[in-house]
Amino acid sequence: MSTRPKDVLTRRSKGMEKESLAEEWFLTGCRYDSRQPDSDEAVDAYRKCIRYDKKFVDAYVNLGFIYLRREDYEEALKCFKKMVELEPHNPEAYNNLGYVYERMDRTGSAKLMYRRALELAPENTEAMINIAQVFELEGNYHGAVDHYRQAIDTDPDAAAPHFCLAVLYDRYDMFDEAIEEYWNVLEIDDCYVKAIFNLGNIYIQLGDYDNAIRSYERVLAFDPEYAEAWNNIGSVYEEIVDYEQALAAFRQSLALNPYQEEVHLNLARVEYLQYRSDPTSFAKEEIVQRLEFVLSLNPHNTAVYSILDNLDEGYVAYQGAKI
């Protein structure tokens, strides 16, 4: 029996209506997502989009990322598996799926997915970096270096592989190698703030205070609200015995983020050093109160006890809590 033209038209128009509804719900999901990331409304909208069009891959992707950020890995896994099913030749699909496995601590499965991405696109540096990061997780330093190098060779003008390699070197205390790679990053992108910040950290450890200060000043020129940079520049000033600058930097860091245990400790230590050379410079009670505040954040901070002991050997309030 042949289908009547009217039925065909009705079905076609219903199909088009569904497509259009799916599109509308996807747009709505994006709108919610951009206004309030990861909201339930965005999830609902993407789900409705999928209900109207089960092959709407973009909705699965965005939904997957929402679940990832919510740490609902099983749901994220379902979304990205669907993406792989719908776009089996897209390396991005395998990179995403691999990333979910990585977050689930299934590093072997993650590596398999990243390798699949590489098979599909042998020039895909993202997959190389991802494999390197799995090697890092597994403690395989040399494997990680090799894969970052492979990514750098494939795309020498990309900053990300250089930065990742620099951080790996940095973590393993390979200072010279890390410095070289951070500078490679900055040659590609001279505004790469994290690279400048990490360089500053290495310079401190090497005792190169001029370069450390220069690095942090540059970071703060880009981002005056970088609380860690204020703290670290304060530590350099402390090292070079410029206590006034150190105090100002620590205070600035605390103004940006008042709950940094380490910065309070740094500030108290410099106040103590000032107090020791000039007892009228600070009230002892204020220094003690700051140290006690640090202890209220972390009762295990042993550095606090040593300053308290130096301030007054008769200090007893926390003696029983020493660990």
């Binding site: 996807f26 747009l27 709505t28 994006c30 709108r31 951009s34 409304e41 909208a45 891959v57 992707v61 990322f65 950020r69 990333y99 689930m104 601590d105 299934r106 590093t107 072997g108 499965s109 398999l112 997915m113 597994e138 403690g139 395989n140 330093y141 040399h142 940095d170 393993y172 205390d173 390979m174 200072f175 890390a178 994290k194 950290n201 401190i204 450890q205 005792g207 860690e228 530590s235 103004a255 940006l256 008042p258 709950y259 740094n266 009670e285 204020e286 003690v288 109160q289 006690e292 505040f293 209220s296 954040l297 009762p299 295990h300 008769g314 200090y315 926390y318 029983g320 809590a321 660990i323």
Partner: protein, 462 residues
Amino acid sequence: MSMYYHYWGLKKPPFDNVPDTSMYVDCHVSMENAIAETLFAIEEGGECVGVIVGDVGLGKTMSLRMIIDSLAQEKYKIALITNPSITFVQLLKEIIGQLTGKQCEETRKVDLLETFNTILFQTIDEGKRVLIFVDEANAISPANLESLRLLTNMQDDRKNLFTMVLAGQIELARRLEHPKRANLFQRIGTYCKIYKIQSEELIKEYVESRLKLAGATRRIFTDNVFPSLWEYSEQGVPRLINKICKLSLKAGETNGFDLINGEVVEQIGQRFRKIAGPAIQKRKPRKRSVETETLDTVPDGKQNVAVAVPERREEKRVASVIRREEEIETVRAHEIQAVAMDEVPVTVQELEDLQSLQPPNESASELRTSREETEDQEAKGLFEVNVGGIRIELDIPSHIADRARALSREHRIKLAGALAAHAIKQNPQLVSSQIVDPVNVWGEIRECFLNLFGTEKRMHVM
């Protein structure tokens, strides 16, 4: 390019913290033993389970890496699990996936066990053996530990079909040694503990041996280095020893020193303590999106969607106005109890003291209605304080205040300090101004709690 170690007449860097078998010295006896014994157990094939335990930073992961790298790869199929805090089904899927090199699609435990069993026999038929390494094994749940024990039952009558090596922090040792795990414990063939390098003398031997391996022909570190090295390496953590020594050699090169003395090591030890790890780049999701302009427009013909957004906005605006008008934040009773349980305890005794603050018949998570709160403010100890011109309400159940009064003075001060820290975290408006020092705010609130606990005005013993 001249490297710092050339300055010292060395052929290669002596203190790099990267895995390098050629730089192993036998002064870190416990690590050396762990590697040797585990390798022996694997290669002989007689042992089913090997265990390596040790504190953070002592070289467990490095040991596993050394073991894996030292094995003849063609003889084994290896799975390495780096964080086993996943379900047993996922753990099995991960192990099977790594052993086969293919994604495992089974989902039922019984099927996964069957597949694993098949892999074991196939591997033996291929003349190989399966090795499973589990790092951070202290993260395995008790249930998974029991399931792993069941895996060890999958053995041939005559020989072990696979070897499993568990590496983890001391907590793993405690779990394995628990009488409940006697069945698993009996399966353990090698049980190695990695310790720090245990004395200044051994640190000296370690440093000098590594220098020799790097080609040193003369003394580089003076004797007064080692007490400082002992102190700043947290009493013998090899990674820290390496780092301090490397930085010392680099500083020596920069400053043209002939020898590294204790003063150099002291300065470096103090310096690097202040620096946290490097900042890393977070991976950004590649969301699929549309043009921003499109997002700002309201879709036509979809009333339910078009209306939803402004309505929600309106709700938010009204809520924020109410919040501003009230300008009162309440620290809820259950939050205070949570902080009392989670943040204050320092010692076992203190933990027990604080646990005794838990009301006998009241769940910590129970929420009271606002009406009830109003009715029994007095009884529950709700009190309002003015801190820097901002009123906040502190709500502390009377039974907690009563018990706090019974604590020792030191404990009352600590409890009040922790509650005050929690209160300002819950009331960020107290420290929203850049000129406000949170310590002063904290001090004021702590005094309020101390007054409530009936403690005399805080006296500094100076």
